[in-house]
C-alpha cells in the first residue's frame, strides 16, 4: 500500500481494470477501480499490464485519468435518511461505513504493441513511474542520447512520482510544428510566469544542432516583463524543480529593453524608467522612412482607399529620400527625410496649387492631397515619442541579435496606434531578416500577450492580425515562432490558436470552459482546469495524445509587482534632469551644472534632437559630440558695447525658434 507520503511501490498494483456491458472498455478508454486511499486523481498517468499476450507480447496500456466516480452501495438517498433517523449528526456514530468505490475512467495515451489496436484488456493497474511516463507520452522518441530535443515544461507529480515532462523542440520551435499558445485567467501569475519559465528552459535546453535562438517580447501591459534581468524570489521547492529540470535558477543574462519616449520627449515611456535600470534601456524612435512603409497600420478604413493609397505610394517611391525639384507647383527644391520635411513639402505643394488655382497635381486631387497630408502629419502627433519629426532613428538591433538574448519592447503605456505600428514594423522586419538569414540568430521567439486584442476571432481584418496569422501559418519555416497568450482562447482567431502546436492552459474561467472549444475535455478535466493552482498547467503537445497536467517553478526573475515597488517609475522630470540622466548613461563625467548651462542656452527641441543623436551614436566624447549637434550661439558682445553694458552683465541670446510661427 501507499506510505505516509502517498507513495506506492512501483511493482504494487493500485487498481484493477473493470468493464461491463454497459460501460465497456474501448481502444481509447478504460475503467478501473482503486482503494479509497489510493493517490490517483484526475490527470494521473497509469499503466495497465494485460494478462494475456497478443502476438507473443504482453500488452501494456498507458492512460491518463480523465474522470472519477465515487459511490456506495446506497441505492436511494432516502435509505441514508431513514438509517440515521433524519439526523446527519448521528451518521458519524454509525458503527460501519458503507462499502465505497473509487472508479476511474482513463483515456489511453499509448498502447504497446500499437498494432493490432484492441480494446484495453482486463488487468492490473499500476502508477506510472518516470520511465512509464516517458513511454506513455512518446517522449522516449526525442529523449534519446545524441538526439535529444526535449525542452522541460514542468514536472508531472502523482503518488510520489516526480517526472519531468519534455516538449519536443522540433514541434515547439519548428520545423515539424511550432508556436505555443497560453490561456488562463488574468491575475493568477500563470501566463507571463509560464512564458518566463519556458523561455529560460528553452535557452537552457535548445539543442546546439539547431543553432542560435533569441526572443523578442512585447510588454503590452503593466510591468510584467520589465525586470527579466533582475533576480526574483524563489522558494526551496522552486529550486528543486529548477535542479530537476536542469535550468539555472537565475534571471536572463542578456536582456535589452526598448521603449519610445513619452510625448514630451524628456523620459522614456516605460515602467522601467528608474535610473538604476536605464543602462540597458534603449529609446525606440523612428522617422518618416520607417513609418511610411507601415502607414496602412495607422490608417483606418475611411482613411485608406485607392486614391489615398496611390498618393502614399507615390510619396514613398518618389518623394521620400529623393531630391524633388523641377515641379511647377513647388517653389523650391525639397529633400524629404523627416515628417518635418514632408510637412514642408505638402505646404509648398498646396500653396502652389492654390496659387495656380489648380485642383489636381499629377492626377492626385487636391482633396486627396489634403486628406493624406492631414493623416500623415497626424501620425507624429498620435505616435509622439515614437515617431520623430526630425527623422532620427533608434531601433531594435536587427542584424546583430545575440544568442540567448531577450529583447523586450515595452509598449504597455502607449496609445493603441503606436502599439500597432511598433508591433507591425518590428515583426515585419524580423521576418525579413530571418528570410535573409541575417538577423543574427537562426531562431526567434516572439511573445505577444493579449492575443484577444491583436488577433480577435471576430471584427474587421487588421494589419496586425494578418501579420500574426502569417507568422502562425508560415513562421516555422523561417525560424520565427510565436508564443502567444490570452485570457479567452475562444475569442482568438482560430487559425492563430489552431496553428499553435503546443497549448498551455492555466486556471480557466468557467464561462470560457463552457465554450465549444473545450468540449473535448471531460467534465472532470474541465473542473480541474477551473481550479488549477498557481504554478500548474495543462499541456497539449503534438506527441501527447491527451492533455497532461504539470507543475512549473516560479520564474527566477523579478515579478512585475516586486520590480515596480523596488524600482519605482521615474517621476515626471524636467528637461535638464532628463538630459542629465540620458547622457550620464554614456559618460559618468557629465555634470548637472553643464547640462543646466546647455538648457539655458538652447531650445528644447534642439536639445532633445542632440540628445537623441548622442544616444544613437554613443560617442567617446559625449559632451563635445552633444555640443556639436547644437547650433552655435553668437555672443551678444556687440549689443552690449552699443548699449554700454559691462561684459560681466551680458547674457547669451537664445537662438530663434526652429519653425516660423507666423508662416501659415
Amino acid at each position: 500500500m501507499s506510505d505516509s507520503f502517498g507513495r506506492i511501490a512501483a511493482n504494487e498494483p493500485l487498481g484493477r481494470v473493470v468493464a461491463t456491458e454497459r460501460r465497456p472498455n474501448t481502444p481509447h478508454e478504460f475503467h478501473f477501480w482503486t482503494a479509497i486511499t489510493s493517490p490517483v486523481g484526475i490527470g494521473t498517468i497509469v499503466r495497465v499490464d494485460g494478462a494475456n499476450p497478443v502476438d507473443g507480447q504482453i500488452p501494456r496500456i498507458y492512460g491518463i485519468v480523465v474522470e472519477g466516480f465515487s459511490y456506495t452501495d446506497l441505492q436511494s438517498p432516502m435509505y441514508d435518511v431513514i438509517g440515521h433517523d433524519g439526523s446527519p449528526a448521528s451518521a458519524g456514530f454509525a458503527a460501519t461505513e458503507r462499502a465505497e468505490i473509487r472508479l476511474y475512467t482513463a483515456a489511453v495515451l499509448r498502447q504497446i504493441p500499437e498494432e493490432p489496436l484492441q480494446p484495453v484488456p482486463m488487468g492490473e493497474v499500476f502508477l506510472s513511474g518516470e520511465e512509464d511516463v516517458a513511454v506513455a507520452l512518446r517522449m522516449d522518441s526525442y529523449l534519446k542520447e545524441g538526439a535529444r530535443t526535449g525542452i522541460p515544461v514542468g514536472v508531472y507529480r502523482a503518488g510520489g512520482t516526480d517526472s519531468v515532462i519534455y516538449l519536443d523542440a522540433d514541434f515547439l520551435l519548428g520545423p515539424e510544428a511550432a508556436h505555443l499558445n497560453i490561456s488562463g485567467m488574468s491575475g493568477l501569475a500563470t501566463k507571463t510566469s509560464a512564458v518566463e519559465w519556458l523561455l529560460a528552459s528553452v535557452f537552457a535546453h535548445f539543442p546546439e544542432s539547431k543553432g542560435s535562438i533569441a526572443a523578442v517580447c512585447f510588454n503590452v501591459k503593466g510591468p510584467d516583463l520589465c525586470y527579466l534581468d533582475q533576480p526574483g524570489r524563489l522558494e526551496e521547492g522552486d529550486r528543486v524543480l529548477y535542479e530537476k529540470m536542469g535550468v539555472k535558477p537565475g534571471p536572463f543574462e542578456n536582456v535589452r529593453y526598448f521603449a519610445p519616449y513619452n510625448a514630451k520627449g524628456f523620459g522614456l515611456n516605460t515602467l522601467r524608467s528608474n535610473e538604476a535600470l536605464l543602462d540597458n534601456v534603449t529609446p525606440l524612435t523612428w522617422g518618416l522612412r520607417e513609418v511610411l512603409q507601415y502607414a496602412e497600420v495607422l490608417l483606418n478604413k475611411d482613411d485608406s482607399g485607392a486614391k489615398a493609397d496611390a498618393l502614399i505610394d507615390f510619396i514613398r517611391e518618389r518623394v521620400v529620400d529623393r531630391q524633388f525639384d523641377k515641379d511647377p507647383y513647388l517653389s523650391r527644391e525639397h529633400t524629404v527625410q523627416s515628417f518635418g520635411d514632408l510637412e514642408e513639402w505638402f505646404r509648398d505643394l498646396l500653396r502652389g496649387l492654390e496659387g495656380k488655382n489648380s485642383d489636381s497635381w499629377r492626377t492626385h486631387h487636391i482633396a486627396t492631397i489634403r486628406k493624406v497630408r492631414n493623416r500623415l502629419s497626424n501620425i507624429s502627433t498620435r505616435c509622439a515619442g515614437l515617431v520623430t519629426d526630425s527623422g532620427a532613428v533608434s531601433d531594435v538591433p536587427f542584424g546583430s541579435f545575440g544568442d540567448r538574448a531577450v529583447y523586450v519592447v515595452d509598449v504597455a503605456t502607449l496609445e493603441e496606434d503606436a502599439q500597432d505600428l511598433i508591433f507591425a514594423r518590428i515583426v515585419t522586419k524580423l521576418r525579413e531578416h530571418l528570410e535573409r538569414r541575417d538577423l543574427g540568430v537562426k531562431n526567434l521567439i516572439v511573445f505577444v500577450d493579449e492575443l484577444n486584442k491583436y488577433a480577435p476571432g471576430d471584427g474587421h481584418d487588421t494589419y496586425v492580425r494578418k501579420m500574426l496569422l502569417d507568422i502562425a501559418e508560415r513562421g516555422r519555416y523561417l525560424g520565427l515562432v510565436l508564443f502567444s497568450a490570452q485570457q479567452f482562447r475562444s475569442q482568438v482567431h482560430r487559425r492563430v490558436v489552431g496553428n499553435s502546436g503546443t497549448a498551455l492552459f492555466g486556471r480557466m474561467d468557467a464561462d470560457e470552459l463552457a465554450t465549444p472549444g473545450y468540449s473535448i475535455l471531460s467534465p472532470a478535466t474541465r473542473t480541474k482546469l477551473a481550479t488549477l493552482e498557481k504554478g500548474q498547467l495543462m499541456v497539449r503537445h503534438p506527441h501527447f495524445t491527451q492533455p497532461i497536467f504539470v507543475r512549473f517553478p516560479r520564474p527566477a526573475v523579478m515579478q512585475g509587482r516586486d520590480g515596480a515597488e523596488r524600482y519605482p517609475q521615474a517621476a515626471e522630470i524636467s528637461l535638464d534632469t532628463a538630459l542629465y540622466r540620458a547622457l550620464r548613461t554614456l559618460d559618468r563625467g557629465v555634470s548637472f551644472a553643464w547640462v543646466k548651462d546647455m538648457v539655458a542656452l538652447y531650445d528644447e527641441p534642439e536639445l532633445l534632437r542632440a540628445r537623441n543623436a548622442t544616444l544613437l551614436r554613443k560617442p567617446d566624447d559625449v559632451r563635445t559630440f552633444f555640443e556639436a549637434q547644437l547650433r552655435r550661439v553668437i555672443p551678444s558682445q556687440s549689443t552690449a558695447v552699443n548699449s554700454g553694458a559691462t561684459t560681466a552683465g551680458t547674457i547669451a541670446v537664445r537662438s530663434l525658434p526652429l519653425g516660423d510661427p507666423y508662416e501659415s
Binding site: I82, F93, A95
Partner: protein, 338 residues
C-alpha cells in the same frame, strides 16, 4: 464417453459455474439433457422451511417473560463491540435432467467480514469458503459413472430422511431434498467459519443465524447469533402479548433454547426497529449467546450492541428491518466471489 478423473482433492478440473456444470455432467451421464434458463429462477427454491410453531419459552432470567428496556428508543445509537460478521449463502440451479430426474448444482459459501476502521474487509486469517457440488438422487439416475458415485462433491439426494422416508420420484420432492442438502452444506460452512473465529480471535462475532449447531460456538463468549426468521416463536401463552407489544430498544427476558440434537444457548428477543404501523414481527430478532453467570447484564450489553448496528440500513434487502449492514455486506461479498 470421456471421463475425467475426479478424486475429490480439487486438483482436477471441477466446474466453476452453472454453465460449466451443465456441460460437465452432460458429458458424463448418458441420456442427460441440459436445462437452460432457470438460473434467474433459482431463488424460487429458497430454503427448506420448517412449519411455523409457537413454543413456550423457558425463562432463565427471573420468573416472568417480560419486556426490558435496554436503550432509549429515541436516543442515539451507542457503540458496538462486534468485531466481525459471519454469514453464508447458497445458490441452487437445476442444470440438467435425465428422464425427469433433476440434477442440481448447488453453490454454498461462507465468510467472515472483519471491521477495520469502520470498514468491512475479508478476515485475513481464514479465507472465505465456497463449495460447488452436484445434488442428485443416485437411486433414480441411470448409468451413473462410479467416478461420480464415489466423488464427495456429488451428493446423493435420494437417501432416506431422519424419519426413514425416501423421497419419491416427484421432482418437487427431489428438489426439496436437494435444497435441504444444500442448506446443510451451507450451515456446515458457516459452522466451520464460526468455530475458526472462536479458536483464533478474541473479538465478538455477529453470526447471522443460530449458533446452536456447534458445541464450540454455542459455548463461546466470542459469538452471538442473531436470528431473523421466526418459524419457531418462543412466545407461547402470555409471552406472545409481551412479544408483540415490545417497542424499539426493548428486549425480552432471557430464556433457554435447547433444540434436539443441538446445543443449548441463552436467547432473548430484541426489537431493533419500531413496528408501529407494521406487522408484529417487524424489526424483531432473536439473539442467541452462550449462557453465563451474569446473563442479565450480558443480554443488555449485547442488545445495545445490536441496536448500534442499526445504521447504515441494509436496504434494499427486503429483510432490512432485521438485518444489519454488516450481514448485508457479507452477503454481497459472497455473491461477488461465489
Amino acid at each position: 464417453m470421456r471421463l475425467t478423473r475426479i478424486d475429490g482433492t480439487g486438483a482436477d478440473h471441477w466446474p466453476g459455474s452453472a454453465h460449466e456444470a451443465r456441460r460437465f455432467i452432460g458429458d458424463r451421464i448418458p441420456q442427460c439433457s441440459g436445462v437452460e434458463g432457470l438460473s434467474q429462477e433459482s431463488d424460487r427454491y429458497g430454503r427448506a422451511e420448517e412449519p411455523p410453531v409457537l413454543v413456550e419459552p423457558k425463562v432463565i432470567e427471573g420468573r416472568v417473560f417480560r419486556s426490558i428496556a435496554v436503550a432509549d428508543p429515541g436516543g442515539a445509537r451507542g457503540n458496538s463491540a462486534f468485531a466481525a460478521f459471519l454469514d453464508g449463502t447458497q445458490r441452487i440451479e437445476i442444470v440438467s435432467q435425465q428422464n425427469g430426474i433433476p440434477f442440481v448444482w448447488g453453490t454454498v459459501a461462507a465468510a467472515v467480514r472483519l471491521r477495520v476502521d469502520r470498514r468491512l474487509v475479508a478476515w485475513p486469517k481464514v479465507a472465505p469458503r465456497v463449495r460447488r457440488r452436484y445434488y442428485m438422487p443416485f437411486r433414480y439416475v441411470e448409468q451413473l459413472a462410479p467416478e461420480l458415485l464415489n466423488d464427495p462433491r456429488v451428493v446423493d439426494t435420494g437417501e432416506a430422511n431422519s424419519k426413514g422416508v425416501i423421497p419419491s420420484k416427484h421432482p418437487a420432492a427431489l428438489m426439496e431434498s436437494a435444497v435441504r442438502k444444500v442448506q446443510q452444506d451451507r450451515e456446515l460452512l458457516e459452522r466451520e467459519m464460526a468455530e475458526a473465529w472462536c479458536a483464533r480471535e478474541d473479538g465478538l462475532l455477529y453470526v447471522d443465524g443460530s449458533i446452536t449447531s456447534s458445541p464450540v460456538v454455542s459455548r463461546s463468549m466470542n459469538a452471538v447469533g442473531v436470528i431473523k426468521t421466526h418459524r419457531h416463536l418462543y412466545a407461547g401463552g402470555d409471552a406472545f402479548r409481551v412479544l408483540v407489544g415490545m417497542v424499539r430498544g426493548e428486549r425480552t427476558s432471557v430464556f433457554s433454547v435447547a433444540p434436539s440434537s443441538r446445543n443449548p444457548v441463552a436467547s432473548w428477543y430484541l426489537r431493533v426497529r419500531s413496528a408501529a404501523g407494521r406487522d408484529a414481527l417487524f424489526g424483531l430478532v432473536r439473539v442467541e449467546a452462550a449462557d453465563c453467570a451474569d446473563m442479565t447484564n450480558r443480554a443488555d450489553e449485547i442488545s445495545r450492541w445490536i441496536l448500534a448496528e442499526g445504521a447504515p440500513l441494509a436496504l434494499p434487502d427486503g429483510r432490512w428491518d432485521k438485518m444489519t449492514y454488516g450481514i448485508r455486506d457479507t452477503e454481497e461479498f459472497l455473491r461477488a466471489i461465489s
